[in-house]
Symmetry: C2
Subunit: 250 residues, 2 copies
Amino acid sequence: MTRPVTAPPLSVSDDVIAPALRRLSALSSLEAADLALLHAAMEVSQTHPPRHNFLTLGRPIAAPLLLLQGWAARVRILPDGRRQFMSFYLPGDVIGATHQAMPIASATVIAMTETIVCPAPAAPAGSGLAQAYAVAEALDEAYLLGHVVQLGRLNAQERISDFLLEIYERLSLAGLTVGGSFEMPLTQEMLADALGLTPVHVNRMIQQARRDGELMWKSGRVLLRDPERTARTIGRQSPQVTTQRVGASG
Amino acid sequence: MTRPVTAPPLSVSDDVIAPALRRLSALSSLEAADLALLHAAMEVSQTHPPRHNFLTLGRPIAAPLLLLQGWAARVRILPDGRRQFMSFYLPGDVIGATHQAMPIASATVIAMTETIVCPAPAAPAGSGLAQAYAVAEALDEAYLLGHVVQLGRLNAQERISDFLLEIYERLSLAGLTVGGSFEMPLTQEMLADALGLTPVHVNRMIQQARRDGELMWKSGRVLLRDPERTARTIGRQSPQVTTQRVGASG
DNA sequence: CGTCCTATTGAAGCTTCTCAACGACAGTGG
DNA sequence: CCACTGTCGTTGAGAAGCTTCAATAGGACG
């Protein structure tokens, strides 16, 4: 899996940083200066184990982080132990975006897998990177709205399909899909806590989807047989990614 | 209800603008200049009937509006007619906040009641008003996260209590509660579409809450008997309003 | 007084949950 | 090398929560 690192010695290999770079580039065209900022930031990347807390509800917000590898999630635990994942961060996502107005975190952010993060470099006003951050933040909100609809008005089968389609769509932007398949590091229990279901019911619905020939799911890898047909069936509408430049650009 | 308007002739009465002013002041202390901006903006307020579309999913975002009176909501309609309200806007809330990065609306915003809105005046950087907007936007996200938890992990009874507590809390900031009671213009059907339930079940749960002495609800007005006890029972945690000034303030 | 919308109630059914048990698998220590 | 342990996926049976369909009642309005 490791490839000889060329040119300047990086603290992380090219393989690690590539997905995040692809993802950010997909949101807005990055300039040479942006790439330089990103490469510099990635020099000080850090690895965190699963369950590591990046942010804690009610605690001060740390500097924003750029997720390079692995998954993280916003989570809320109720006093009686019920758990709800509110959104997931995938490679290329920014954790703890610059909500300067709200100095305390509105949610706990936890690593779902082993993760590699680096500081999210401050973007010069009007730069492609600033635009990428802004679009990323807007997309974040759009997916959150989608999650509300999913929980409120989709049944178990539809929620699973919708979730997998969303992940597929987002991982595609980072180039992390291979022939329509992608890595799914979540256990069925985590999935249940994201979809507002029980692990048992998630399991049954997955198996039904398997029997229906809708998907394959084995050892942490998912293959959607016909994403477009599935999306049409459940009436899924993806957030529109807009790369149109707006505001005071250089 | 109408009181003689004093001093400069306004297009709306003081009664109309007071709640929004109270609400914004509660988020950040407004300066004289901010108040002048707001008063000027309110000169051109407009009244819209129920069902009026302020924003339409996928259409360009119009100038941000300040909601003075009435309720609005972000809504998504599925192809088969299922409907989900994702969040509500109450007096003092900003509709279509300045997501410059995403020039197209990520949701449709519709008037739930007759509403009065005015343009949201642009806030000078570092002003109290800018801070109020920013906090409002952060709160908006916090409530949205709360909605996800509500839909994912609360049962019908808890969802209704949680929803009413949230509305009570938010209306309090605008001074729109009287002795623990407040106006609830939503029909049970609308409530069902916000809580991911059917109108019939919402009705049953409300009546159970009535029998349990938890609330009174008659002719569009709700009285919560013991909000704090209810909040404790369902483990509700309110977003923290932070008025702490951050960033480049004048 | 008729119409429409909203609230209310009953009965039956379906989706999802709960409880419980078992199998597959990886890691660990003897 | 093999029990031991823990996690995760799988399955069954019964119960609970919520929905669906249908019908009635109450109010607002023309």
